[in-house]
Amino acid sequence: MNINKNIAISESGFLFNPSTGDSFSTNPIGKEIITLIKEEQTLQQIVNQIHLKYAVDQDTFEKDLADFLYILKINHILKEDE
């Protein structure tokens, strides 16, 4: 999985997709996850990193991450590996 190459992301968490004209706003942890995906971290690596940094248990974060990735996918921000 990876973030679509043409997606522009600002420091403040503003996303723009030039191919559709859609724009989005994400919170700091959302932006952090998107950055980790762009760095080609695996899902387990993302879970581990967030768990180390934030006060959240792994189960909760795994659920939240799955939900977040689903929304990225249906908005054509995230593309699955071929």
Binding site: L15, D22, S23, F24, S25, T26, N27, P28, I29, G30, I33, L52, K53, Y54, A55, V56, T60, F61, D64, L65, D67, F68, Y70, I71, L72, I74, N75, I77
Partner: protein, 452 residues
Amino acid sequence: MEKLSYERPIINKLNTGLMNKFGTRVDNTPVTHIDGVPVKKLIADFGSPCFVISERTIRETYRNAVRAFSTRYPKVQFAWSYKTNYLNAVCNVFHSEGSWAEVVSYFEYEKAMGNGVPGDKIIFNGPDKTARDLKIAVQNNSLIHIDHFDELYLLAEILKEESQKARVAIRVNMDTGVYPMWDRFGFNYENGTAWSAINKIMANSQMEMTGIHCHIGTYMMSTSSYAVATSKLCDLLKNIQQVHNVTLEYIDLGGGFATANTLRGSYLQGADVIPTIDDYAEVITSTILNYGFRPEQLPTLFLETGRALIDDAGYLLGSVIALKRLSDGRRATILDFGINILFTAFWYDHKVSPAQNFTSQSEDMVLYGPLCMNIDVVRENINLPLLNRGDHVVVHRVGAYNMTQWMQFIQMRPKVVMIDMQGMPHLIRNNESLQTITAHERMPDHLAQFNL
């Protein structure tokens, strides 16, 4: 190293060209306390969900309504509408403020008597009064508001065997300019049946006609309809004076005043569009005062206001059971209460507030209840801060009708708590248990045993 506080990741699509001048977020602070009592403690002590009623708000709302009417008109009497909320503790707050009782069934009549309301301070409305009900109401000198000719004739029959007179009024329905017109209760004004009923009562020496009543609708957003109704009742009063030489004691305008709840489908918030209690009072009292009665003949004004006196005092506390995504990506939040105990969710877009601190992020969502029914929707669409499983929410303005129209469907009804004037919570209705429900069931012998 201390870990950073966690907020779940969220991404919202930004829509341009769909501006909403009213904005989206309506709350900037959580509702952590009710009358000084922490919501967290209420839920810990009384469970989730639970209803909470503020005695302070009831009294303040009632006193404000009394002020609005009694500063404009010399003779005003409120009668608490039992059907709106007949929990005994709630009724007794109103009675202790001086309110009579207005009941619409014998069940409610017995409740009012049980609460210690004198029989002659009970107004008996409703279309379903049996011979037994009427007999007892006559003996207790209650005000019987006759709904239809069958009731009128039944009462006449009963009175043949009674030594005392019955104090009666008729319920009148009429065109007040608001449609659909409520014409199923009482006698119609325009087609003359109301006048015909009055003549029949006047011809019966055992009936003492004391007043005249109407209830023009519910959640009435137009004060002018009350002006029309008041004027038509005054017409009847004047005609009775002229034709029968009888001066009635009162006119009863019923209830129907709106509350700040927002009706489903309404573009504007309820609080921005409803008349104030002073608006209603001004229209009704000025219509009577300007009608032309001599001061000594001014009728007492009875009001059976229900919803507008109790809605604001009621809160429903609940918790988030789960979060999920619908097929179109919308967020769905499942709460531990639904339309089973929040019947008014069918009518209103209830205000819902988180009961704990939240971040600046928010998301659109649909709020579902826990019932296995598709219609169990608390809010079709609402923008709230990010909620997590176990979070608590507070639903506002639920004091009217929910605690009388709630249903026992797949779950038991919860506790109801009243916070007194000193900020002390009291349990005023316990939660139901399996035993509450099954105690009324009976098992035929041949079904008592089975082998699987």
